[in-house]
Symmetry: C2
Subunit: 605 residues, 2 copies
């Protein structure tokens, strides 16, 4: 039943050999990996305008130079990550780059930040997408958390089905979004050029008295919160079709170009139209409204915008499982993240991402405002570390033209570091949790590695000297009466050894006497030990007895506790029987050094 449901949900299991077919073409990769970055145009310009409005409407013209600066940073990041792709063709996320060049602790800091950040990506994007819908349809406002959760479940299932299938489904809306935004930008420019817009924007270069450098930097860093997702491509190189590096680099440049064009277009239109940020209507919505009016085209643009925000969450579904795989390979995360599921995706990573982000959405009640600062910080820490790592690499290896590369990464590193520091100083009340959470994550990484190391050491064998040792056998059979399953268990025990002892726990004299008499009558050729329990507990006296047996014979004998158990025909019949044997097994398993054998007896009705 469960199995059928699983098949319906995620499809037939696939052979390991089918893995090559799951690799991504450039166009599909663009859809799967760039929606996070592209969707940022839905709020990037707005973040800048919100900060500038603190200095009055006259200050909004600064959004143009600031947008150009963000564009410059985007260029630097793209160039930097292009260098990374060729330097680390097997997948060079911030984790790999920082680990290789700056040492393991720094790598883990980058990896930990990214893991947390991918979870935040899903939470923020699904919440923001929900906001876009509920802004358009206010009656859905009460169901915001539910809508976000439904999307997370949907994305999780799609990703469990496998990467390529989800790419095919998800590519269409990504391209629709790109087309919609370009249509909006072109129509807006034409409308502005033909004088169809009357809003008076403050002229470029107007002097505004209360604009400080701090305010401008804050506006710049707020705008940069939209640059998340750029690293997704360089992290996912092994997912690309051959030649994977070339394809990944091309995809990265395609993404950067589209993103840059859309972002500067929206910023220009917002400036020309003289749009002020409004908590009840997004900037994109205001531009679309001013250009087309609240007609069909407006609603299409809003709908696709909501969709792309949900798809942005999908980026994390490619990146998180891969990063978890890499961390698991280095033994910093549980081995289960290395296992490919029925559909060849890293199911455990996908499921963990879905559950954790859903928890965040519930915890923050789908409130994006409180999540975004952590989200942005979580991105700029690995950005900085990754570029620092590349700087070290160029200095060490000194390949041809390394000076230019070094300068690119240095500029990038300083910029991203500045932005991260601005976040820390201007929004500390929102992000302090990161400084508690990250050390805990890194501590867990090290504890996990230590455990694997210790385990391997204790399990290691010397194939020359360590050979199996043969000992005698003693078998203890706890029984609750004389039944068919006890008969068969005793038969089995006697087939193994002559040292068999049956143990019975009685609660009162009458019970004990009856049992002893019946045993004598049956006479199975095995000694019966009777224990008395005052506390209605079968386990305690039994454990005591097994302790004694262990103490007496473990030097010469293997001790086996043989548990007779009958198995009901239907699962629900289980609740009709006291599960003492299961509890006994769990107890022995965790406490004692004895072999635990279960003798099953299948009831056939």
């Amino acid at each position: 039943m469960m199995n059928k449901f699983k098949r319906l949900l995620i499809g037939r299991p696939m052979k390991s050999a089918e893995i090559e077919g799951e690799k991504l073409t450039k166009l599909k990769a663009l859809a799967v990996l760039s929606s996070d970055a592209l969707s940022s145009v839905a709020y990037g310009t707005e973040q800048i305008l919100i900060v500038l409005m603190a200095a009055g409407f006259a200050a909004v013209w600064y959004s143009i130079p600031i947008s150009i600066a963000v564009l410059g940073l985007l260029l630097i990041l793209i160039l930097s990550y292009r260098q990374t792709i060729f330097a680390y063709p097997t997948g060079g996320g911030a984790y790999i780059v920082a680990k290789t060049n700056l040492g393991e602790p720094v790598g883990l800091l980058a990896g930990g930040s990214l893991l947390v950040d991918y979870i935040l990506t899903v939470a923020v994007s699904s919440s923001a997408g929900t906001d876009a819908i509920t802004s358009a349809i206010p009656s859905l406002h009460d169901h915001r958390v539910l809508i976000a959760l439904i999307m997370i479940v949907f994305l999780t299932v799609m990703n469990l089905r496998g990467v390529t299938e989800s790419a095919s489904v998800l590519a269409i809306p990504v391209y629709l979004f790109v087309i919609a935004i370009f249509v909006l930008i072109l129509s807006g420019i034409i409308k502005f050029a033909t004088g169809g817009v009357h809003a008076a924007a403050p002229a470029l270069g107007t002097t505004v008295s209360n604009v400080s450098l701090f305010l401008l930097l804050k506006a710049f860093s707020s705008g940069c919160s939209a640059l998340t997702g750029v690293e997704a491509v360089s992290n996912a190189i092994p997912n690309f079709k051959q030649p994977s590096e070339r394809n990944a680099a091309t995809t990265l440049i395609m993404m950067g170009t589209i993103l840059g064009a859309m972002f500067i277009g929206i910023s220009l239109l917002a400036y020309w139209y003289g749009i002020a940020p409004n908590p009840k209507e997004t900037v994109v919505s205001q531009i679309a409204n001013a250009t087309f009016g609240r007609g069909t085209i407006y609603y299409i643009i809003q709908g696709i915008t909501a969709l792309i925000l949900f798809l942005a969450a999908n980026t994390a579904y490619s990146a998180f499982p891969l990063l978890a795989f890499m961390l698991a390979k280095d033994k910093f995360m549980p081995r289960m993240f290395m296992v490919r599921g029925d559909r060849l995706g890293f199911s455990n990573g996908i499921i963990n991402l879905g559950v954790l982000s859903a928890l965040l959405v519930i915890l923050f009640q789908g409130n994006t405002e409180n999540l975004i600062p952590m989200y942005a910080l979580g991105v700029f820490i690995p950005f900085t570390l990754s570029q620092l790592g590349m700087m070290v690499r160029w200095v060490k290896l000194k390949p041809p033209g390394w000076r230019v590369k070094f300068i690119i990464n240095t500029i990038g590193m300083l910029t991203t570091l500045t932005i991260a520091l601005i976040f820390v100083f201007t929004k500390f009340t929102h992000i302090w949790m990161v400084f508690i959470f990250l050390p805990i994550v890194i501590y867990i990484f090290y504890q996990t590695q230590r455990h694997y190391h210790n385990t391997a050491e204790q399990l290691r064998i010397d194939v020359i000297r360590d050979k199996p040792i043969i000992k005698g056998n003693t078998i203890v059979v706890p029984i609750a009466g004389i039944t068919q399953v006890v008969k068969q268990s005793i038969g089995y025990a006697k087939s193994v050894t002559d040292n068999v002892v049956a143990v019975y726990v009685g609660f009162n004299d009458e019970e004990i006497e009856r049992m002893e008499k019946k045993w004598e009558e049956w006479d199975p050729g095995v000694r019966l030990i009777v224990l008395r329990s005052s506390y209605r507990s079968v386990l305690r006296p039994l454990m005591k007895f097994i302790n004694t047996v262990e103490w007496k014979t473990s030097a010469t004998d293997h001790i086996t506790v043989l548990i007779p158990q009958f198995i009901t025909k239907h699962w629900w019949q289980h609740i009709l029987h006291n599960q003492t044997s299961l509890v006994l097994r769990a107890y022995l398993f965790n406490q004692k050094n004895v072999v635990i054998s279960t003798f099953p007896f299948h009831l056939n009705k």
Copy 2:
């Protein structure tokens, strides 16, 4: 950790011999068993008045004769159950009486009704108690479900601690309630007698044109919905101190006297004061208000009334586990209901009652109106069956004076049957669920009994002919590599038999070749079988192999699958390892007829 929490919550475990100390004295029994019945004065009169008001305020004088009729029925029920106590000194609830005299199916109908009814008692009483609180403190109205659930959890924990302790805690408020109501009645009578009340009630005997017999019967039956809980005493006789029958009978009469006096007192005051039912203020609250004004005494009375309603739920906590025990003894319910917990209470019954009633409260959002009709019907079905059973008993046994006893039970039976039928005809929309639910419960009873019967038959042994049979042994050891735990497992297997085969599942040629080579090098004296898996599943090829072994050797050999497993030092480390062996064990356990042995290897760091 879990264990410590349990100790804190429910106290130290108690010896079976301590059970006598848990028996109830009469005064404690009155507190534990009568709160359900006594609390009914909080709403009994009101139920009558609500129905009568349908014919206008002039009709409220009928409440006096109707209350007297309810009192008469109470007398009949008390006399009847007193007869039952002496006839069935080991506990004669409706289940026992109906089963013994009317046959098993009727007994199960009574038992099923009562079980459902006890759950409804807890749900209705805790909801009604919450209503009383939120009527007094309207700001708590939004947290009604939460308050009711907290009370259910509290009662569950108290009852898990043991009967006597909870009796000591709960006796005080029950007696406070009795005192409070008598103070109210006496003060009210004095005030009325000294002319302090000016309300004009319609005179007794006033002719009201639209009062039909049907209306009067409906009012009577509504008033009777307050007679629940009378059977609790006769069901709980084994809980009384010796001489238990005498003590139970005395307790029953004490309870009936107090209940009758309070009920008629409240009805008289309501009539004298000319009180009309009001959905926003209970009748008791109106009387208290008219007598004392909204001062300290008023709030004390309201508070104690709320408390007694919560305690009414406690009655079910004594009755439900005992009835479940009796049904389990007859194999109609799972055996687990016969097990006494650490504190000697029937923990499983207590926990199940708590969970099911909490579910009802959540499902009905603490809305008492929709629960009460089912609740009342669920009581009057077993009332009727119990008295029918007693009638049959008197005719059969004909003890001295049986005619009087027969007449008492006949009158009772006819009255309760009539009330049950009135419920069915006047409130069918509220109670139809009972007619679906009860047959299902009875079906489950029979299925459970059949399963126990079948199991016993399949497990039964002939001690003369059925002796243990000795066979050979074949051991299969699935391995994932060559480690210390595999070395020890192989050593164990070789100590048992020479027919040992190790099985390895590989995913690709490289892996398989490496394994085969290392095995040859190690040379443990055991054959290695290598299986190849295309679907990354270890289980499927392994199961296939075990099938083959079973098919070949099960005639001559016991087949054992020995699973090497290392056990981590800390529980959380479990998640760091793939739990293939646990899944394999579960699979084998449910599907195959092989002995499953686990060889544990405890990691010590």
